[in-house]
Structure formats: C-alpha cells, structure tokens
Amino acid sequence: MAATPSSKAKTFQSPNKTPTNMYRKSYLSPSSTSLTPQTPETLTPLRRSSRHVSRKIDLGNDPIDLPGRESIQEINLTPRKRTTDVVAETLTTPKTKKKKKIDVEASFSPISPNRSETITKKKKKKKRVYYNKVEFDETEFEIGDHVYVKRREDANSDEEEEDPEIEDCQICFKSDTNIIMIECDDCLGGFHLNCLKPPLTDVPKGDWICQFCVVHKPPPLQGKKLAKRTMREKLLSGDLWAARIEKLWKQEVVDGGCVYWIRARWYIIPEETVSGRQRHNLKRELYLTNDFADIEMECVLRHCFVKCPMEFSKASNDGDDVFLCEYEYDVHCHSFKRLAQLVDGDSDSDQEWNGGKEKEIDSDDEEESVCADSKSKRGLTGVNTKGRIFGVEKVGTKRIPEHVRCYKKNELEKAKATLLLATRPKSLPCRSKEMEEITAFIKGSILDDQCLGRCMYIHGVPGTGKTISVLSVMKNLKAEVEAGSVSPYCFVEINGLKLASPENIYSVIYEALSGHHVGWKKALLFLNERFAEGKRIGKENEKPCILLIDELDLLVTRNQSVLYNILDWPTKPNSRLVVLGIANTMDLPEKLLPRISSRMGIQRLCFGPYNHMQLQEIISTRLKGINAFEKTAIEFASRKVAAVSGDARRALEICRRAAEVADYRLKNNNKTAKSQLVIMADVEVAIQEMFQAPHIQVMKSVSKLSKIFLTAMVHELYKTGIAETSFDRVATTVSSLCLTHGEAFPGWDILLKIGCDLGECKIVLCEPGEKHRLQKLQLNFPSDDVAFALKDNKDFPWLANYL
C-alpha cells in the first residue's frame, strides 16, 4: 500500500525537477521554427470573437462568477486564516508543512499523498460526509468542476499580491476594458485593437498572429509582465495546477472541526508530458491525467473551465480561464487517448462507471482498490479468466499523430465521415410511425401499475433501422425518466449472435440485473425465481425490466426451450418483464412450436424496406450542409438500392464509396478538377463494384486454355441439355476443339488442373480433382454470361461459333 503513494509522489515531483529551462525550450520551439500548425478552422475565429464579448459581460453583470481582484483575494486570504486555527494539526496545507519541518519527499506538491493515506487511516472511524455541491468561501464547487490548485510555496508570494483577472494589452500595458482586445494565437497575449500597428477595426477571421510572434521576438518588458501574470499564464508555465473535482467530502478533525476535502483529478500541460509540447498542441490545451489526489479545499484557488473542442469553440462565459482538453494522458504508460465521452456523444457508460467507483470508495475499502491498481500496474494484464479485462486502459499512443489534429477536411471527406455507418444520425427520418408505436408499447407496459409483462416481435430486412429505432426510443425514455415523468426501469440489451451459445443468455440477463456472473443453469434458476415467483434479486427494487433481444432467431435451439422460457416469463403475474425481439424473418413465430408462437406472435411490428424517396431523405439529411453530391447522384443511388433491397446501410455505403471514388479521382489528377462534386459516374462505379459479380471480368482475362475449357463446357451443355457433365466429356470436347482449330492440346492432367483452378474461383462448380476422369463439373454462372465474356475474343475468334 505504501508503494503506490510514493510512486505517485514521484510523478508529482518529476515535472518540478525539470523546471523552466526544459519546458522553455520546447515551449519556444514551435514559434521559432514557425511550424505551428494551423489551429482547426472552426475553433479560433469563434473563440476569439466570443472572448472579448464575454469579457464585457463578465465584468459588467456577473461579478460572482468571475470575481474581480478583490474577491479573488478574499478567496485566497480567508482559507489561510482558517488553516491556521483548524487544520494546523492535520499538516496539510503547503504553508504549514514547512513550519512543522516534516520531511516529506514531495514537498512541492500541495499535499503529499503519503500523508493523506495516513490521515484516512487514522480517520477511518470518523465520519465522512459526501456532497455533490459545496459552498466554500462564497463560491460553489460541484463535482465535475474544474479548478486551479496551488502548486508550491514560492508561487504563493506573487499570488497574494494580485491576481490580475484582466490581462494587460501587450503594447500599452493597460487593461482598458472598453476597447476590444484580440488574442494572438501563438503567444496568447492580448492586444487592444487600436494599439496595433496598423490598428484593426474588427476582429479578423481565421488565425491571427501578433507582430512579435511574426518576427519571433518576445514582446518587450518581460519583467513587468511577470509581475502581473494571470492564473492562466501561471498554469501554462507550470506554476499552478488545474484539476477536476471528482468527489467532495467533509471530514471531522480530531478537535471537532471539519475540513472539506476534494478528490482531484489532475490536468497536465503539454510541456509536462513525456513527449513534450507537440507541434499540433494548441496553446490552451491541457490533458486530463489518470492521476488522483485527495487535497484540501484550501489549496483550491478558483474555478477554471476546461472544455472539449466543440464547447471550446463556442465558449462564451469565461474569459481568460478557458482551456481545451481532448485527450487523456496516462501518467504511468505516458500515452494519450481521446476522451471517451467526447467521442461517444453520450455519457451513459461514463455515469455507470462513476457510480461503480463511488460505491467502492464509500465502503471504505480503499486498500482493495489500491491492490487492484498495483496489480494492473505490475503487468498482470490481458484477458482475465474471471471476465474482467485488465490492461485495455494501457493502450494509447505515445504521441498524438499529427494527421489527426492538423488536417483540414474538404467537403468530400466531410461527406464521407457523415456517411459512415458508425456515425449515429441526429434524427431518424422516415421511422417516426414505428418509433411511436414502440414508444406506445413500452410506455403502455411500464406505466401500468400492474406492469403486466408483454412481448413484441419486430421484424424487417437488414438495414431498415430496427435496432436503432428501438435504441433511440429507449434514449428518449431515459430522458423522460430523468425528467421524472416516467418511473425508472432497467434495460437489458442482448444480441443473439454475440452469445457463445443460446443458453448463455440466462447468465447475461442475470449479470445485467444483479452484477454477478454465474453459470447459465444457476442463472436460469434465479431468473425463474425472479420472474415467475416474483422474488427480487439482491438489492434490486421493484423496477420493470425491458429486455431487447436482437437477432432473436439465433436463440432457436432444438427443443426451443430458451425462447420458451424467455417468452413465458412475461405472462407470469409478477414478472414486470417486457421483451422486444428483433429478427429478420417475418414468419419466425410461425416456424416455432405453437406454444411459443402463441406467446410471441401477438404484437408485431414490421419495418418495411425503404423506398427510394425515403432513402434519398436519409442520405440528404445526413449530408445537410455539406456540398459534396450532385442531387441526381443521390437519387440514382437511392433508386438503385430501393430496387434491389431497400437497405439503408447499402445506400449509405454506395454513397460513401462514390465519394471515395471521386476523392481518388480528384486527388490523382488535380489539374482537370472540373467539379468537386460526386457525379453520376462515381455512383455508377460504386454500384458496379457493389452489385456486379466480377466473374465476367475474370472470364475475360483467364488463360487461353481456360477459355477453351469454358467454351467446351457451354458446348457440352447445349449438346446434351444437362447442366452437369463429367471431366471425361469436357476433355474430349476440348481435344476435338483444339484439333479442329490447330491449337496444341496440352494433355489431360494439365487440363484437369485448369478445371480445378476454375473451380477454385467458383466459375465452375466441381468435385475434388482426385476423381480425375470421373470428376463432375457444372457451370456456376449462366452460359449466357460465358458467351458474353468470350464472344469477341481476339485470340480465338472461333470460340464464338460454339457459344
């Protein structure tokens, strides 16, 4: 247990040990080599203009949120007073540390983790009260807030004097708030518009770089600037820390008082990572680390705002303390990873994860979690037999690849990205009726006080939006649960194809309901008790359960007991179970035993294939705002797909492929780039590739003897009228063909090999070659295809006579 904290302390210290000179180097390098990447287009212009607008608002109307100089000092001073009288014994603030002369190796860090451990041990019996929100020095702190944290003793000295919230103009060194200020994208210095030479009247669009950065000279009067550094500058130069509050609690101290603590998750500036500042890092970029520490509220200075790129570009209310965070940094493996919740767009999984974490620590068994931590660190990773997966979190890039950040997408690439199947559309056009029906069904089932279990069978060909409709209905319902209009329920989603065997569904359901993994027989027993007899599993309360089973047909076993059990539970009086089954076949209930079909077949919902209008609407809603496709091209693609299958996935893939084809065409000959749009021809190519079997092309290009072989087979087919022939006969025909047209007959064994090669491509269906003369052969494609492919052959014009 002692090992982990000390290693933590070291990681804390290491950035300090290599102080300014190292970071200076890397910090300056981008501007000196002028390799600074372009900031993503969408970010900066919005950002800059919003900044000065917001500043006015902040200063004028909202003094609480962004306190002026006085209020900041208040925050800074008041805790210090308290520290002396209440927390003196706990020895935690950086100030008291030195006074008491306690030698802690990590003297620079706001608290030493070592000590926090001892404290928690000491206070194990003491009560901890957890909060979601704490008011501290007239400022509210909430879980998930971002704050500045004091870093070291000497940094305090200038903090006390002043904390300039409003930075000065880099030219006139005054902070006149009436004049619009512009921010340099390189050095982040502020400039009054009219101080510039020549003065600007408006904030320019795109990146703007100040005159000093243009000539790679630091702005004059560094000394003056240093005296009045803002918190942002201190943070970015490593004199302050930023952290996210993960937890808040109040802890009683020995002599009766109580101290507020937070569990902080540190942010790190690019300079402090192993790879240093990378070329594509933005100036205000931070990384979220996986490093936690318990610190006292006293160390917290005030709020700052760390945003994801999307919000950052729209940031409006926070002036100078806005930072951008897109990546997570693993301090042990020194690797980067995108923040998961940003990518997914929904924070479902994240919330659950938080919940689990809290439970763990609430029950005060921190030792266990530490053990698990150290175990995973030691390298006991990979797939664990108990079903828990270690080590996945270790995956990360050592450097964030440049192509990801510094790449400006053109219209075609944007179109490709939105057409990806993976991109979840914002709205689901053309399925509102079905979604209403599903919503009505689910609501009707769970809103009933009785909650009589029910079952619904949803069917339709692939790619008609069955699963996504149900999932979006569930998402809407979840929003309603949060709003309080619908009582909570639990939702279990299972895919039949992802189960190792149909019986495994019991254990999966049971695990989803209770969190424990048991074998399927035991799980069946428990589930029977739960649904048929109404016993509760564990702590679970009276919540209705919605079970979504995708690919239901995969659960059909020989005696169909799995399906029977699952569909039987809803009929039980106390089950409170709703089953939604999804499959492709329309008549699945009819194919099953009558006792199952009577339980399942009552309520059905059919997702018909999309027609071409609908497909067109789906594609164009995805492509809204992106000018990449000709209208006729979309229509052509959707008509084609609607005629074949009505599969939306297919239509999207065709369009994406067409965009790829167009992209390839334009990138290869950029001089003749007439239209940047995807045209009909591209769609035609994509459709050809997707729908046309390639056999004709192959037949055209196979070796000469193979062509004669195929001709002989067609000839044989015409002569006998029977599709199946034997190698014996084909070879005889080939030899007579060769003889009459003066070709060399290669011999039977070579001919056999040729036949087998054709068989391998499945142009010909054939038995294994060991049967030799007795081998049975049959054309796999219509003889017309062969005739079409071989008719105008230059090498053997006579082939046409036999086709």
Partner: protein, 417 residues
Amino acid sequence: MGKETPAEKSLNLIRGRLCDPSYVFRPLSASSDSNYSKLKFIVSTSITEGCNNSMLLLGPRGSGKAAVLDLVVGDLLEQFPDSVSVIRLNGLLHSDDNCAFKEIAKQLCMEHHLLFSKMASFDDNSQFIIAMLRACGLAHKTIIFVLDEFDMFAQGKQRLLYSLLDAMQSVTSQAVVVGISSRLDADQLLEKRVRSRFSHRKFLFLPPSREELDGLFVHLLSLPADSGFPSGYVSRFNDKIKNLTSDTRFKDILKTLFNANSTVNSFLKFIFCAVSLMNLESGLLSLENFKAALSSMQRQPKLEAVRDCSVLELYLLVCMRRLEVKEQSSYNFISVMKEYKAIHDSFHTSDYYAQNVCLRAFEHLRERQVICYAENRGQSQTGEYRLQKLLISASELHQGMRSHACCPAILLKLLDH
C-alpha cells in the same frame, strides 16, 4: 566457405528477387489505376480519417492478392508507425469462431504487450476485443484485420464476421477488415445481416497482360550494372537474356506456359525452376533451362503412371477399358479376371499369370490411383469384390502405351477393338 563465383552470386541475387514479393509487385503496381494504389488510398484514408472500412480482395490463386496487401501494409506501417496494428487470420486455421476470437485476442495482447490468458472463454475474448477496438480507436490506432481465405469464415453462423463488423458500427472503433479470397462469389456467401454491415469494397486481381509479364521477365532477370560483378559478365548475362526474349522458340515456351496458367505466381515458379537449372560454369541462362523448367512445371502424372506400368498391369487396364466399351459400367476384380481370361483364350497371349499375381498387380494399380473404388460403401467386402473404376481415359491409356518401353503390340490392337 570460398568466395562466390559470379554465377553463384547472380543465382542468389535472382532467387532473392523471386522470393521477395515487394520486388516483384512494385513495378506492377506503379500506375494510379492499379489495385495497389487504390487499396492504399482506401486504407490510408481510413487511418487518417479514423473511419471503418471493410473490403474484399478477389482473384484467382497466385494473382498476388496477399502480396499487394502486404506491400500496402508495409508502406503504411512505415508511414504511421505508431497507429497501425495488423491482425492476421487464416480461414483454414481459424474458421472456428472460438478459435478465431482466441487468436485475435492473442495477437492483440502481443501487439500491446499484455499478458494473454489461455483460459479465457469465448465471451471474455469477444468482450476483450470490443474493449480493445474501442481503446485503440480512442488512441487513434487503426487495427487492420487481414482474413485470408475469407470464404472459410463465411461458414456456419459467421459469428466472427458479425461481431467484427458490428463492433465497427460505432464511432469509437477504427478498424479495417480485409478479406482475401479466391472465390469470386465470396460476398454472396455472407448472411444477410452480415452482408448489410459489410462495406463491399471489392478489388479484383486479374492476371497481368502479356506485355507486363515480358517486362517483369526482364526486370527480374537482368543484372544491375553496378553490383560488384565482373563487368564483362553482367553485359554477357544481360545480352543472353535479351537474345532469349527475341528467340521464337523461347516465345513458344512462354506461350505454352501462359496458355495453361497466366498468373504471376506460376510465372515466378517457372523462372525459379529455370534459374535453378542454370549452368554454373558458364553462368548464363540458356534456352534448355527454360525448356526443362516448362516440362517440370507441366507434368502429366497419369501418363507417367501408365508409362511405368508392368505388362500385366497394362493387360488389366486394357481389360477394364474393354469392359467399359462393352457398356459394362461396373466391374470388379472378378469380372476383370474373366475378361483377361477371355483375351488369353482367344489370342493365346504369352503373358498369362495366376489370379493371385493379378490381384497383386490390381492392388498396385489402385495404390497408384490409376483405378479406384467406385463407391465408398461396401467396405466390409474384400477388395476383389468391390466395384472399381478406371481413373484414366482411353486416349491417355493409348498415349501411355505407345510411349511404353515394352508394350506388346497385341495390347494396342485389343484396346482399339
């Protein structure tokens, strides 16, 4: 070991070239129309744009599907060293879903220096893979799944393909699935729900044209001017190659070869054979080398089997053939013996052997697969009563007997009537 002679050195150089797919396929894939550049474009844009793709490489065996893919993957590994990992599966080895999942998990663990547990169950592995896909996507790493013999994965419930393709339907994952198959209808084998999730990029690999092959021939065999060979040797060697390519007899050899099989792979094999036969004293390739290579490429095993038969065996074969001509489609050893006896009675041949000797000859023929049992049933019966089939056609038998060293003339006559 002594110093290599120039001949040995050039031999090693050329053999090295022949076994290096990148040397062979690089010139074939230079143009922007080639599969190589198209494939590279798609895979590299999937990496840079962070999207998922799935594609199929189709084409006859030996047309360089895997080699071109390896070229692309090698280039991309160089270009994006940190953000590409390749998982290779083969349908012949991993067509079982369970085994395939295990293998993927194992390779992922190796790639990321994690410990792989052999005990992990199907569920664990599939969860692990999905978690890894997600983690790699978050870290901007693309996983390329190469599924060789793709058609074998399309057997059974296609759970592997479904899970992979379904996992790729999320924004976080960043993966490319490349299927390689010689079956042209490989995508038709997919189940509907799998097919719907498949991106259907198809690359067709066709045998190269005659001109390309000629270019390849020179590219492979001409020695570089500045590589430490004696100066005279290089020019002599290259002149010889040039002479060969303009020789009509050589052209005929190539024509015979390409008539049967015009894929790159068979061409490489052919050259390898020829080069291995090179005369080390002169150190030059000759026409005879290529002739010998052709004949070793195009062997006729059945014909040779007939040529090596004993006279008694020939008698038996002729008897069987006669029975077939008499429209007696099924026969066993006993009926063949009857025919044999009839021939002997009517023509008074000198070669008459006892039944047990004939049985031995018969067994021998069967072991050499000149004849076989007509059906697999009736294994309880002893060999002589089971129905037999001739695996060799009349014309082959005829041709073989003609080239036989000591075939009695009467047999040829018997075969015709």
